[in-house]
């Protein structure tokens, strides 16, 4: 019985540890997305969207090996269906939403990324970057 109890606690602890680790990872991705959004807003908010050739340089957030390793880790996590195993089904949605924000951001065409997001948020109420 004692052994069962300790094994049970081990599993609970393991789940807690994985959950908190994933939450930290989520925070890193989320912060990156917010920082990109803020900088884009700052640089592009005064830009008239009819001017196509305007040049805006933003910091290269996606040249980030930590972020790359994190996404690699997430590939493994999703392959083993870890979210379901630890009973955190809502993580699927949380992560996918943040990752879509990163996918949309294009370093070579920051203005285009910004215009896309602005156009969407002008038409609709919510967007990935909001």
């Amino acid at each position: 019985m004692q052994r069962f109890k300790s094994n049970n606690n081990f599993e609970v602890m393991q789940n807690k540890l994985i959950s908190s680790m994933l939450e930290e990872i989520w925070k890193i991705i989320s912060t990156t997305k917010s920082t990109i959004r803020e900088q884009l807003k700052e640089k592009c908010s005064g830009v008239n969207d009819t001017i196509k050739d305007i040049h805006v340089t933003t910091s290269d957030f996606l040249n980030n090996e930590l972020l790359q390793n994190i996404t690699y880790l997430l590939v493994k996590v999703s392959k083993f269906d870890l979210f379901k195993m630890i009973g955190k089904f809502e993580f699927h949605s949380q992560f996918v939403r943040e990752l879509f924000g990163l996918l949309e951001y294009d370093k070579a065409n920051p203005v285009l990324s910004y215009l896309l997001v602005t156009a969407r948020s002008n038409i609709y109420i919510q967007c990935f970057w909001c």
Binding site: D60, L62, N63, N64, E65, L67, Q68, T71, Y72, L74, V75, K76, S78, K79, F80, D81, F89, E90, H92, S93, F95, V96, R97, L99, F100, L102, L103, E104, D106, K107, A108, N109, L112, S113, L116, R120, I123, Y124, I125, Q126, C127, F128
Partner: protein, 308 residues
């Protein structure tokens, strides 16, 4: 500094073009001038020019200088491409999980029919079984077919939202289940079959949503999240992508998102339902071994990536 280097590269490229013209004129004569210019503009029509060692050497020299100058930039975009490719890979995995759920949901639906009609079907002949199943398919098939994802264009979504039609994807499935036990006793369908036209979760487990619903915030009211469709984002990323692998991944995500029904039909035809205990045991044993193998492969991949 980078601008200066870029202009140097451009000058070198121009010089390369000039040299290429001279080489082209010398080797092939003046008439070939247009052809060599074409080749430098990535037109690869004439294999003779491409295979010429002088031209090859010249082009690789220009390329090497270009890479040396832009090396840093290339490695930076390589990280970005890796991140995006991995994101696309995660999205593809989500599509796999969605399909797993859809197949599971279909089996639960079929199980529900068996529970309701099992006894009666047991005493029916094959044509009656077929008839009963056909009635269920007509009445409830739409409840196991996933809805089409939205395009993000309101007019298109409204136009096609209503036109959900039953597809012939069940033709193979019907064949699979038509060989069930039967006797010669005849009985009609007594119970009225409930008509279900919207997608229903029969599994009792949490539904694995499609990408459109995954990217929505569950804490925010759905009507406030109009425009949160995946397709515009995926298309924008595809247009911006300048890497073939990434483009393939993104196209794959788009295609799979919008062909869920067809994929479900294909998978259902492949489903092999195990009834015998012995078969189930063998399956479980093999599944454990395959899972172990998968775990080893993934772990070795991580190890290789980390240490080599």
């Amino acid at each position: 500094m980078l601008a200066a280097l870029t202009s140097v590269v451009e000058n070198v490229t121009d010089l390369g073009k000039g040299l290429a013209n001279i080489v082209g004129n010398t080797v092939f004569g003046a008439k070939k001038e247009r052809k060599s210019q074409k080749m430098l503009n990535s037109e690869t029509e004439d294999p003779m020019i491409i295979n010429n060692p002088l031209m090859k050497g010249l082009l690789s020299l220009v390329l090497q200088i270009d890479v040396a100058v832009r090396g840093e930039e290339v490695s930076a975009s390589a990280t970005e491409i890796k991140i995006k490719t991995q994101i696309a890979e995660i999205l593809l995995d989500m599509a796999n999980q969605r399909q797993d759920f859809l197949v599971q949901n279909f089996l639960y639906w079929f199980d529900e029919i068996l529970l309701k009609e099992g006894k009666r079907l047991f005493n029916s002949n094959p044509s009656e079984i077929k008839e009963t199943l056909q009635k269920y398919i007509n009445a409830q098939a739409l409840s196991v077919i996933p809805p089409t994802m939205k395009t993000g264009i309101a007019e298109v979504d409204e136009k096609y939202a209503q036109k959900i039609t039953s597809v012939n994807m069940f033709s193979g499935v019907k064949k699979k289940f038509s060989g069930m036990k039967s006797t010669t006793k005849k009985k009609g369908v007594k119970n009225k079959i409930l008509q279900v036209t919207s997608f229903t979760n029969y599994s009792g487990n949490e539904e694995f949503p499609d990408l459109d619903r995954l990217i929505r915030d569950t804490s925010v009211v759905e009507s406030r999240q109009k425009g949160m469709e995946a397709l515009p984002s995926l298309l924008a990323s595809f247009v911006n992508a300048n890497n073939t692998k990434l483009e393939h991944y993104l196209l794959d995500v788009i295609m799979r998102s919008f062909s869920q029904k067809e994929e479900l039909g294909v998978y259902l035809k492949q489903v092999d339902v195990l009834f015998e205990d012995e078969d189930i045991q063998v399956y479980n044993r093999i599944k454990t071994q395959v899972d172990g193998m998968r775990y080893l492969i993934e772990r070795s991949e991580v190890r290789n990536k980390t240490f080599y």
